[in-house]
Amino acid sequence: MDAILSSLDVTYFLLVTLGTVIGILFGAIPGMTATMAVAVCLPMTYALDLNHGLALLLGLYVGGISGGLVPAILINIPGTPSSITTTFDGYPMTKNGEPEKALKLGIASSLFGGLFSAAVLFYFAPTLADWAIKFSYVEKFLIILFALTVIASLCKSLLVGIFSGVLGMWVSLFGVYNMSTGGNGELRIVPEFLSPWLENGFSLLPLLIGLFGLSVIFEEAQKGVHDEHAESVKLAARKRFQWSVFKGQVTNLVRSSSIGTFIGMLPGVGGSAASVLAYSQAKNFSKENDKFGTGHPPGVIASESSNNGLTGGALIPLLSLGIPGDSTTAVLIGAFTLQGIQVGPLFIGENQTTWDVMMIGLVAANLVMFLVMWFAIRHIAKVITVPKYLLYPGIMMMCVVGAYAINSGIMFDVWTLLIFGLFGFVGAKLGLEIAPFIIGFILGPSAEVYFVKSLESFGTLSIFFTKSPIAVFLWVLIALSVGYSIYSHRKNKRLTPSGK
């Protein structure tokens, strides 16, 4: 208890607040995401201990997801992909003269979704970790395989999704086969002349910052960096917010938050999938489903409670299995690695204080998000008007600082930033899927250890099918995720025979 209290000092809560405010501002600017906020602000944690660093990052995560509702409601552009369905009813409410009502509805729903998912995380992650602790290398390898097939099954093309994941895995194998994990210390894949720079492969954080920072700026540059929404935003408030709008919406709130939390638990599945599913379910179950899309408050409630429900959900596989639930939590892995802590089944048991402090940080971030957005929404709305030609140079500089400082001053890490910034930009044009690529990159080294050590121990490939009932169960899950993908693609093809 003393250890927890000593971490929860004033600085801790100031960092939660700072992170949440910066996150909200990032989320509120169209084109900038929660992932970008966490990636770009990561260097700020270099000088902090793990608990304080996590306070900042959790604030950024919650704020980044929540801030997306501001432009979605006010200018019909989702600030983050996860607030796409907020535009469906939020913007019509603005057009009907209810922008403040729509914003506050979204903020309150976000708070509910965030706290709901934090509660699920608190009760479910330790149970899952206790279960996963019993896993041998065989089951751990199959969990990674399952994670990759789940991510791939939700991509536009299953094959391209799996290809992207395996490509990420391949890139993660650059450099020496690490002796600390039982390797022989020999260099592979990397040509000899590049070995001074790539002996330990590509660093995770410059790669992530490149993919989520630089590539976004290149993408914007390609489109011409337009600030077409730079006109001032005014919150005309003909109709004020009243809590009575939530009357009869408890089921919608709980269902949407549950959907968000569940989708968050699936590795690599973004918030847009959560909000689309929650929105469509709210519409299907509603007696007034014809009102959806015309400024109907339950639509905003479903969308916002589900995308914030994602936050706690995505932390479940990260903290109990070591598998990131989405791209933002993939960046959080970088923060743990930086502090020399490995996330996985042993994390909660061995770092009880950090776990408790994280939970408090997550709840605090949601409360701060609510208070800041509720009382300062008029000021936050103005961030939409900040021109990108002033924002992007600063973001680029933060990216450089983050990459350069990660290994205490290696210039090659800055070039890694550029390499993966270009890769993210060109890869997206070629149809590569970035989320599976990142998950593959993060899990690649572990997959190698689990796979090779399993074979070294048992000497046969059949062990992956016969080791235990859990292994068989995991194969069933893998088959189901692949089967689901094939089924849904065929169904979509049938619905759009022209393929358009």
Binding site: P393, Y404, A405
Partner: protein, 146 residues
Amino acid sequence: MEKISDFFKVRIDFDQSHLFFPTIVEWVLVVLMLAIVVTHGRHWVARWRETPLGARIRAWEIDKRRLFGCLTLTPVYFAVMEPVGTIYPNTGVGFLLTSYVYGFALSWLFVHDNNRRKTLLMALNALVTPTVVWFVFAHIFRITLP
């Protein structure tokens, strides 16, 4: 029955173990690439015939000035940073000085309908942002910068 179980047997030579998993991954990549070509190839060829490459590139809406300007400025910024930093080593001055120039150049590249007010804003931003970043990270957080 004996032969089937033999088929699954694997022996990993420790001296060559660093290549075992990467080789499998490379083969999986090749197989997946072939599968993608087989399943999507016909669609690609049809699209290729339908719309020539030139027309498709034009449809991408590339702002050539801003994209290629950004793609040129950024590597130059990275390349110049360290040599400039060697003038005053371990102070982060390389980052600071090059960021002043890069910050202004990038803003100037990205801005639309430039005027005196915007130029002033860009200059101010190019001075203040790198200075704040440099001061916070190099002096308060004591983080190494080029």
